[in-house]
Amino acid sequence: MENWLFLIPLMPLLAFAFDLLLGRRFPGKWAHAPAWIAMAVAFVVSLLAVLRVARTGEPVSQTLWRWMPGADLGGFDIPFTIFIDQLTSVMILIITGIGFLIHIYSAGYMGHDPGYYRFFAYLSLFVFAMLVLVLGDNFLVMFFGWEGVGLCSYLLIGYWFDRRSAGDAAKKAFIVNRVGDFGFLIGMFLLFTTFGTLSFFGPEGIFANLAGKGEGVLTAIGLLLFVGAMGKSAQGPLTVWLPDAMEGPTPVSALIHAATMVTAGVYMMVRAHALYEAAPVALLVVLIVGLATCFIAATIGLVQNDIKRVMAYSTVSQLGYMVFAVGAGAFIPAIFHLMTHAFFKALLFLGAGSVIHGMHEEQDMRKMGGLRRSMPITYATLVAGSLALAGFPLTAGFFSKDEILVGTWFEGYPLAAIVGWIVAFMTAFYTFRMIFLTFHGQPRFDPEHVHPHESPPVMTLPLIALAIPSLLLGIIVGLPAEAGPIHQWLGPVFEGGGGHADAARTMAVAVAAAEEAHHPPAWLTVGGFAASTLLSLAGIALAWLMYGTGRISAQAMGRRFAGLYALFYNKWYLDDIYQALIVAPLDVLARILWKWVDAGFIDGIVNGVAHLTGGVSQQLRKVQTGVVSNYALAIALGTVIIVGVYLLLGPQFLAR
Amino acid sequence: MLSSYVPVLVLFLLAAGLAALILGLAQIMGPRGLNAGAEDPYESGIVPTEPARKRFPVRFALVAMLFLVFDIEAVFFYPWAVVFKRLGVFGLVEMFLFIGILLVGYIYAYKKGALNWE
């Protein structure tokens, strides 16, 4: 049964190879076919594996090969093992399921692009890397996927490489991610020197051997890994690349920069939750950074005019929710939100793509308006997604967000929960600002030149398929609150610290008791529901008043809070601060290094060495006369030296 | 340890010394007058009819090499014949194998025309 788990990552890889090598020669535009098939197979296999996990309650795994077992490199033995437990199950279903829908959608969206096959090749490669990231059972394999998704993200953001802005955005994403990866890498080094292994599980694994390790080093590891997570999940100071990443094609934004890759950081921290629980200081930092990101991104989202940028900032903000939930120790709500967010944010991006497609590549919401009549399906599905994002009662986003906030409060951070509710209000507001600006009111475009039209079924069907879980997923897996199916499903991952095999047994009774007590009191649950409902409705209502009816003038508001407006509109001047503090000094430093150190000093040394070796080599050529007797003389002389040294100096003439 | 090699060293020195002595004496005592006859390989023998370094046909070398191979075969037969009885069947089989391998060489040489003089 476990022998075919390798198909899950292999299928997208094959599709990649196939499209890259042969895609150009495909008759017509069939490059999407292998990618579709690969995704479908990967999804089915994933589903079977998950069903198996569900039936037995045990993880499934398959070791494909071991890397350098005989090399004897200080115990550096990396098994390439596919490992699927309940947490991985959630991730692979999201990746292959939503990935499949987005592959279908892309066939419509990218239909007119000359690099069609290249797009599908990259997209399949991305899915492969992302699957490797979540399927690996050690940090190195995870890092392999981690780098792979970074590469694909770079390739796809810069997919339209003839646009300068796309190239710049790709570079920015790559470089900012390098900063995070660097932290991740050092964290891995530190893990290896501390534990002597990079494996998660097993008696030799990291999570089973946390006891007795210094809290200092665990905190350092936790923080360094979090630096990596900040890069991938666009948190804290490393936020800046994600909004620019919207230069890529919209399906890319939906798959990579909303549903999957950006959640890698959250996944990693939840996977390593045992480590983080042993390092409370690191967790506190995670909480603060997540909360700040959540708040700041929401404020910026309030004033953006580009439809995709609104979504980008809302993604950053929602990721902030997940990260601070992790920081508060509310791991299951974080994964719950990750799941619901994957559905509704993918839906929103695809819907936005549909709008952009129908508006002939127009992205500015100020030039839209009144589109609901010409794009009814897009409108309906986008409203569904927006309701979920805004946390409208009984939608998926409502339950998951509510669980995060209640969980955070319950874990002892009521202040963070209150900030979260404020952000929830802002989220509801900017989401429906987008809806009203885009679909309601009078058209603000030139009807002579732009003829908005509904997208073909190949694009609208995935929208519908995503709208259903966006609305209903919460009711299915989230009720009753704090104890729904999602909790029962993910519960085993967190029992006994995710790998404390023997510790688990001794603590089993205590855990069972704690489980009973580990539910928020009823007043908190009900109060949380009430607060979430009220704030969500209030946000939507405010948006209606300002943009739906125009009863409150948006311009007037902007003028009254001119300072705040400028701050938000300029993204808290983050890019400018980086320009002044990092980019400009680095530029100067680079010039110095190039002109003086590199061109002068290092090149001098290198050229000197080259001249020296070249010169010696020239001299050596003269020895090679081509005359046999000279060669024989060399042999004889060599013999005389060896024999002579033996006989005259005795053995051990060279010290070891 | 090295002292056991003193006789060898003495012998070596004696040989070298004797050679040096004879050559030196010849140098000192021999007559100097050179004529055409003195340059010949055999000063008082048959007069050479052509230069010694003349090239001769490669056929000779071929025959010489083939002769060597089969000569060694014959040499190998002698000790084998002496102990033939004591070796028993094993010896017989071995020798047939040996001859068989040589036969392959013989067939090869024959087919290649190495045995044809013209």
Binding site: - | M1, R86, V104
Partner: protein, 496 residues
């Protein structure tokens, strides 16, 4: 008195027998089939090597290790591993030759039978457990190579190469035989197993006769392995011989001879570790420096590869030096790295020569780096990419077999305490990159001089060789587990 003949254990030498009999059959068949059908002999030879590989695999799982023929042959996994590597090298070289000989109008002659005879010598070398067996094996191997080197009868350089190889080879084997006789004089035996027993705990280790004998035997090895300063024949012979022959002798000879060296010094002479390790230490340093430095100025690709092979032998020697049997852990690491390096070297070096073969034209062998390799990437992108991989691997760039080999070798040296070897190794590797990368740069940056002509067609056998070498070079770099496991399992040098 009955003479008890030694047990007639033909199964133990099955790979040798298969190849030797195959060679004789090929020799006879060569006489009777029409010249147009001669390529069939190549495929027959290929089949022979494959059957021999099968025999090795069979022996690997069977009753090994064992001694045979009055302890003159030791059949163990070490020998089998080396034999398999040699046979793989031979099989690839045969595939390389089939079209090359026709293309270059060299005539088949006794080419394939000679190749098989040579291979049989290599196999015997890998199993030799006696200085006499060793010498005979070396002679079988060398005689074949002398003739193969001169097999391009119409070309003066080929003749010159054969004569030089023959003269210097005979010269240095004289030392080898003399050394053997001195060792016999000192210990009364030439058998490896008996030597080890005789030397253990005896006062013989300071015997000057023995030491002189060891030194002379090492000279013989050094010649065959082309270790500086006994390397001077290599560039002339390698560049003069037909490229396919050069490819064959650059890998097969080295692999088998290194195996014999390792068997001699660690299987028979561990008591003299201090002596031979010091001599090889010095040879390794000189070889690494000279080989890599001299390669820099070469413009002929075959001469460059000849010097490169000298440098590569220096790296293998580093691991041989570290094979100290008194430290089992270190010894295992060192010997397995020798085996791994030889395997990796076989594929990457043969691959590089395969590209050279692929570029050769009937009128012009296309050997000049500046003239013929410039701009190759534009005309023949696949060949250029393959060559780039082989160059990077020989240069020791990560994710290639060559990198793993160097990593293991240097690590073994450091563990054994020979950090100067590792330092010199790393420094010379950096120097070596200069000439390996220059080939890559020429191919990808230069302007082609042959832009107007049609790219050379790569025949199927050659394409197979390239593909195998390419896959192996990359696979052993990324996933070295399989060959490493095999090498680890092959560390039992029989010395009961």
């Amino acid at each position: 008195m009955e003479i008890a003949p030694p047990p007639f254990d033909l199964g133990a030498i099955a790979p040798f027998l298969i190849v030797a009999v195959g060679a004789m059959i090929a020799l006879l068949a060569d006489l009777f089939i029409p010249p147009a059908r001669r390529p069939a002999l190549g495929y027959f030879a290929l089949g022979t090597t494959l059957v021999a590989i099968g025999a090795c695999v069979w022996l690997w799982g069977g009753a090994v290790p064992r001694l045979a023929f009055a302890n003159m042959i030791a059949v163990d996994r070490f020998g089998l591993f080396v034999t398999i590597v040699t046979l793989i090298g031979a099989a690839l070289s045969i595939l390389l030759s089939v079209d090359f000989l026709q293309e270059q109008r060299l005539g088949y002659g006794e080419y394939f039978p000679l190749m098989l005879f040579t291979v049989s010598g290599m196999i015997l070398l890998a199993f030799a457990n006696d200085l006499i067996t060793f010498f005979i094996a070396l002679e079988i191997l060398s005689l074949g190579l002398y003739i193969l080197a001169g097999s391009a009868r119409g070309r003066a350089v080929s003749q010159e190469s054969a004569i030089k190889y023959f003269l210097l080879g005979s010269f240095s084997f004289g030392f080898l035989v003399y050394g053997t006789s001195l060792i016999y004089g000192a210990t009364g035996t030439t058998n490896f197993t008996a030597l080890r027993v005789a030397l253990e705990g005896s006062g013989l280790t300071d015997n000057p006769l023995l030491l002189a004998g060891l030194a002379l035997v090492l000279v013989g090895f050094a010649f065959k392995l082309a270790l500086a300063p006994f390397h001077m024949w290599t560039p002339d012979v390698y560049s003069g011989a037909p490229t396919a022959v050069t490819a064959f002798m650059s890998v097969g000879t080295k692999v088998a001879t290194f195996a014999a060296l390792l068997r001699l010094v660690t299987g028979a002479l561990p008591a003299l570790y201090a002596d031979w390790s010091n001599a090889l230490f010095a040879l390794a340093i000189v070889t690494m420096i000279l080989g890599n430095l001299a390669a820099i100025t070469q413009r002929n690709i075959k001469r460059m590869l000849a010097y490169s092979s000298i440098g590569q032998a220096g790296y293998v020697l580093v691991a041989v030096v570290a094979s100290d049997t008194t430290q089992p852990g270190v010894n295992d690491a060192a010997q397995s790295s020798v085996l791994f390096y030889l395997l990796a070297y076989t594929f990457m070096n043969l691959g590089a020569f395969a590209v050279v073969v692929a570029l050769a034209r009937p009128d012009d062998e296309r050997l000049d780096l500046d003239r013929d390799y410039a701009g190759l990437a534009r005309r023949q992108p696949l060949l250029a990419a393959a060559m780039a991989v082989f160059m990077l691997s020989l240069g020791g760039i990560p994710l290639t077999a060559g990198f793993m080999g160097k990593l293991l070798v240097f690590r073994a040296a450091i563990e054994a305490g020979y950090w100067p070897l590792a330092v010199v190794g790393v420094l010379t590797s950096a120097v070596a990159l200069a000439f390996y990368l220059r080939v890559v740069v020429r191919m990808y940056a230069g302007e082609s001089r042959h832009a107007e002509e049609r790219p050379a067609r790569v025949p199927v056998p050659l394409a197979v060789v390239l593909a195998v070498c390419l896959v192996a070079t990359i696979q052993f770099g990324i996933l070295p587990a399989i060959p490493l496991d095999a090498a680890r399992g092959a560390l039992t040098i029989t010395a009961p």
